[in-house]
């Protein structure tokens, strides 16, 4: 089934403008919506006939990831094509696992971007089954790892978590003690407790866990 409606959700003016112009010249009913909160975007597009949505994953500071739009869009009957300038495989895998039809990188030429869009709008396969299942597997694996780390981090008390976050930010234990107005010995004791609770042997390993937990999801 060929979609005639193409929605562009991208915070970059030049891209969304040229995409809309190029798609219109190819006979599509293309439009873009202002990037705002997910709920606002969904309200904005409620009047349109569902078709193909070109979705950027990173919609700028202070706005949720574009991936949050995948599920509601798909449930409204839209087909979603991720157009991303990011190299974050995890975010991409998540979007695909949530139901995006495929993805295209902004580093590809504009012609290729258009070609993939046209294919996706025409309902043709833009992501091979193998590539899709690879991404879904990647997402599941990272997700499981993420959950496992979160579970371990949840064992920490508020203060322990604060101390660990400071350490991960490269603050030395002595400076942490000063910041919280406690003794260095207390901070050391808290660090030991953190290591025990996280089941790791060194501060480096503990910090690596926090950093891993922070990778965008």
């Amino acid at each position: 089934m060929a979609a005639r409606t193409v929605l562009v959700v991208d915070d970059h003016t030049l891209i969304r403008t040229t995409l809309v112009m190029a798609l219109r010249s190819q006979g599509f009913d293309a439009f873009h919506v202002p990037v705002a909160r997910t709920a606002d975007i969904l309200t904005d597009i409620s009047g349109y006939e569902p078709g193909l949505a070109l979705l950027d994953l990173y919609l700028g500071e202070g706005v949720e990831s574009g991936a949050e739009l995948v599920v509601p869009l798909v449930s409204m009957g839209w087909s979603v094509l991720i157009v991303t300038g990011s190299r974050d495989r995890y975010a991409l895998a998540r979007a695909v696992a949530l139901g995006a039809a495929g993805w295209v990188s902004k580093t590809e030429s504009f012609e290729r971007l258009l070609a993939v869009t046209v294919d996706a709008a025409a309902g043709r396969e833009v992501l091979s089954q193998a590539a899709r299942s690879e991404l879904v597997t990647l997402y599941r694996r990272l997700r499981a790892r993420h959950d496992e780390i979160e579970k371990r981090l949840a064992r920490l008390s508020t203060r322990e978590r604060q101390v660990l976050d400071r350490l991960a930010a490269g603050v030395q234990a002595a400076a942490v003690a000063e910041e919280f107005g406690i003794s260095l010995a207390t901070v050391r004791a808290q660090i030991r407790s953190v290591l025990t609770k996280l089941d790791v042997g060194t501060q480096l390993a503990a910090v690596a866990l926090v950093n891993e937990a922070r990778t965008p999801s």
Binding site: H12, L14, I15, T18, G85, T107, Q203
Partner: protein
Amino acid sequence: MHHFVLPRARWVVVRPRAVFAESGVFAVALVLLWWQGDRLDHMWQTAAGEVFTLLALVSACVATAAAIVARMIPRSMDETDRRLAGPLAFYGVIMIPASVFDLPNRLEPAVAVGGFVASSLFLVLMIWALCPELYLGLRWPTAVVLAVLVTVVAGVVAHVVPFSGNEEGPTLATIAVVVGWFIVAAAFVVVGGKRHQSVTWRVGFGLTVVALAHVDNLALRPELSQPDLDFAALRLLGLLLVLTALARPALRAMREARDHAELLIAAEHRARQLASEVAERNHEIRNLVSGLSGVTHVLGERTPLGSAVQAELERVRYLLGHAASQDGVVHLEPLLTRLVALHRARGTAIELQVAEGLRTVMPAAELAQVVTNLLVNCERHAAGALVRIRAGAHGDGVWIEVSDDGPGYTPNGHRGIGLRVCTRLLAEYGGTLGIGSDDSGRGCVALLHLPGATGWAAEAV
């Protein structure tokens, strides 16, 4: 909230005054024990045996702790200190505990011989620790196990073989062991002083105190019926000296490792920040390139300038780390035409002469990079000169010649980096670059040889 700030634990650092105070305390304790130690035996008339056993067990713990601490000293610091783990473990885990068992009289010879052998082996292990060049392919646990085995065998032999002449008072063997203790202790002090290793000579002092304890006792095995408390106390003091000597470098190493980890984390944090800044910047540039690419598309790629901009954007994409061109075969004519249009727009006079149907397997982005570098070189070193680009086939390959009628090529000129990049890019795809002056000595000539696209490869696309 309570704000109680404890003084930072700095005692690990060796400070002259602290060392002085510490040595003073030990010296006073030593003198008191040596001089008035016998009074200890009268203090606990009834419980002397228990007190002795207690002191012996504490000594065993201290010796064992010293052995463990010795292993915590990093390998990079001093092999001697690490090797002390062997004799100290033997002393703390085997020798002292064995000495407080009340054994039946008929085992007397076995115990005496076993004690002598064990003491001798302990001293041998100490010497082994002191001389790192004595490797002998021995690891300290093996050394301890061997020592235990030899001791047991000696004890068993002494038990089985009849023993004659049970003398009263110190035997020759006892005296030999005590003298051995002093020699080893002195060796540690002297060698430590010579090598400027404070740990080693401190250990030597500790050993000297233990040796003094043995002089006081002059028996390899104390009589539990008549326990010598000042011997036990002196031995404990000596072992404490050894433990504190070894604990210093071990604790310092631990602290350094922890501080190092903190520095490492800080460095990693900065690196992550930097990486995320770069990623964000690249993300923005990719978006910009994508947008500009869209603009040229919408404006129409038919114009030569449009396609020239397109080629430049392709190059930026390539620099951002994405080999966009996976086309396999590149047609020279359109690519060179685009590049020439771009440089003509900058004001360079370029003549282009390309044979028809030339194809290469070198990717467009890389080839564009090479030709651009050559053109930029011409613009920089032969400003205003007429640039001529010619391309043709040569056997299976393709050649491109970029020449100008400027001042000519000087090998020492500042053309280095750009040309090196060209050579590297070309080499990656089996191409070569030759550069020199015109036959007439005027102008610079760069000649590229590229692998051509064979018939079947061209068909496949």
